[in-house]
Amino acid sequence: MIKFFYKPKGAALAFMVAGAAWFAVGAVYGMFSAIHLVAPEFLPHLAPLVFGRERPVHVNTMLYGFVGTMLIGAGLYYLPALLKTRLWSEPLAWVAFAFWNLTIASGPLGFAFGFTQGREYNEYVWLADVSLMLAAVCLIVNTVLTIVNRNEQQLYVSVWYFMAAFLWTAGNYPLGNVMWHPATGAMPGLIDSIFLWFWGHNLPGLLITPLATGAAYFVIPRVSRTPLNSHTLSLLGFWLLVALYTHIGGHHVLQSPIPNWLKTVSVVDSISMVLPVSIVVMNLWMTARHFGARIWGDPAARFVMGGVVWYVVTCIQGPLQSLPFLQRVTHFNNWTVGHAHIAMLGFGGYIALGAMWHIVPLVTGRELYSQKLVSLQFGLITFGLTGFFLVLTAAGLIQGTAWHNGETVYRVLPQIAPFMASRAALGVFILTGSLVGLFNLFMTLRHGRVMEVQQLRHAEEAA
């Protein structure tokens, strides 16, 4: 039993499997939420499944549980692989695994029964916050000591991102969650919204983005079998990300009475985010240039490159919708819900899934049970998410323009009903995609064909 926790790459695999499971859980809650926006009396009188309680379970399970967990798992594999060493401590990674997943489990187990701090993206109660911080600290220690004990002089860009993700989160999370106020996790008064959105935006920006970028930087050059295009662009992308992203949370409360200078900073830096994003995307794109067939022909790398495409869409839309003039129409409605989905499932989720499918054979020594099922999952999620994005964006534009035309929120409800129904229907595709993935992963672990030593070595050295 004890030996189990010392088995190399064990924690990496555990994180990825947990991520795939959380994906299915989060998708189920998303499905219920979507149905409730069409039929509010679906499963009535069931307290844990009212919209106000199921929505945070969906959101947090997807963010931290699916995307975060899976990307950490990928990182725990590529970090030592890129440093030509072993993870400093496998048991410590398991400790991080336990704390991290405890926090996520507190969502479905807690929010549904009123144990929540209620602040969007900061809902976990104080004990769960502590658990998440302990996980982050364990990961920092493990990453630093793995770097210290490396056999490869150069730190590849994926290593920077993986390291920095937890250094930033360890500062970010307690600030945004106001952990020094354990009861409410909030500051009194309006200033709370500034703390709230500091983490609210840095969660995607300085936790998920670096993890996903790190994974993309790992998978793309390996599958295209070319060296990374440019070290300089990597540097620029990395430093501009943290220099700009940290400032932009204010654009979530742009129309509220927060100080004007904060609004200005958040808008200017939001627009500037186009720079690091396009630098990263260009760097990956140029790396894969001339090798498109290798990337798009490989189901795992297709997911990763698909995620990069969603990243482009997200990060053109995101800066634009921070503009006050546009936000008058797009704020408070389904437009932003569409944006959140292409950011988290599109960018973060695609890269997480791609990295997982790429790495699982390297960790287990087994071939994927079915490449076709990976492609099927890609197709299901891509159809679902693309539809989601179009439908929600359209619904948001209808709401936003109707409100400015003097229609009340209540009056516009019949107009968005067909869009909400389509969204629920499209959700079925995403839910099915998550289940197909879980099945494929399970079958790989149980029945995947064991690779010959030679074949495994070849796969590991693909780059």
Partner: protein, 328 residues
């Protein structure tokens, strides 16, 4: 530039903390908590309601600030930073699947709110809000208290108006069906009481009116207009039974203006809300025609005085006989 572990770790931390200082550090040192002119302290019951608001995720569908651009709800008062003093947490919200609630206090009387929390469709037939009937009665009362406090002192003024008129409305109702209608009609300004509905009650207009009735009115006033909708058990005074209005047509001629005025302004103190933010003029007149034709059996649409017909109007002529004049 070579990324050594030291450059990576120290650099990443320095850039992050410098940025964090700008974004949360400086606001913490400079933002002042000065109460606005409508701010007041929440009572313990309202605090308990706020807690329920937070843990049940009301903030995922309701915002708590009115923006300059919110013309749909009038934007009579734009949110100020001093409105949130001491509220922990003041969740501003990011979605409006339901309406903004920052000035909700006193919009409706308590009984409307309790019916609404028990099942939102009691009062708002097409609402997407979940029913909160699994909460204890005490909790629904606390939530109601919190909602009624939203808007601070401005809400208190509205609340006082609700209470003042509720006393009179309940007294009028206890005087019997006809006394109640007489009291209600007496609250309508004189000019409106003798104003016929200027819109023809065409088939299309009645269909429009029916649609509006189903979206706004049906669960209080019921599908047959007798005031026994699903919300009725919660409300005091109960919703009006339209069928008794046949005895109260003004001068046996006029009813449209009274309908219009009461739909437009509501009857503050009772559960009857005002609809002038939801519905514009033609929709209210269409609804008035629907009520009149369906539940009173008579409409004053297009009768004299009516001036010059609008250019689009066809040759519709009112053939509804006033009550008591029907050919036997």
């Amino acid at each position: 530039m070579k990324m050594t572990p030291a450059v990576l770790i120290i650099g990443a931390l320095m850039v992050f903390w410098a940025s964090a200082f700008i974004i949360v550090g400086i606001p913490s040192m400079t933002m002042k908590e000065t109460p606005s002119e409508i701010w007041r302290q929440l009572t313990p019951e309202e605090e308990a309601g706020h807690r329920l608001y937070v843990i049940n995720g009301c903030s995922y569908c309701h915002s708590l600030y009115i923006r300059v651009s919110d013309w749909d709800i009038g934007a009579e008062r734009i949110a100020e930073s001093g409105d949130y003093v001491g509220v922990e947490p003041a969740i501003l919200g990011t979605e409006r699947t339901g309406p903004d609630l920052s000035q909700e206090g006193g919009e409706h009387p308590e009984d409307w709110n309790i019916a609404h929390f028990t099942n939102p469709r009691h009062t708002s037939p097409i609402s997407l809000m979940p029913s909160w009937d699994f909460l204890e009665e005490r909790e629904i009362r606390a939530l109601t208290a919190y909602v009624q406090a939203l808007g601070g002192k401005a809400a208190d003024v509205r609340q006082a108006r609700q209470r003042q008129w509720k006393t009179q409305a309940v007294a009028a109702y206890s005087g019997g069906l006809d006394r109640n209608v007489e009291w209600l009609h007496a609250q309508v300004p004189e000019v409106w009481r003798r104003m016929p509905n200027p819109y023809p009650a065409t088939e299309a207009a009645l269909q429009r009116g029916k649609r509006i009735y189903q979206q706004f009115c049906i669960n209080c006033h019921s599908p047959i207009g007798d005031g026994k909708g699903s919300a009725e058990p919660y409300l005091s005074p109960p919703p009006l039974n339209f069928t008794t209005l046949r005895r109260h047509v003004v001068e046996n001629r006029y009813i449209g203006g009274i309908f219009y005025y009461q739909i437009m302004n509501g009857i503050t103190g009772t559960a009857m809300p005002y609809f002038k933010k939801h519905l514009e003029s033609e929709k209210i007149w269409d609804l008035a025609n629907y009520l009149a034709v369906s539940f009173v059996g008579y409409t004053d649409a297009n009768i004299e005085p009516r001036g010059i017909d609008a250019s689009y109007e066809g040759a519709w002529r009112n053939s509804y006989p006033p009550p008591g004049t029907e050919a036997k």
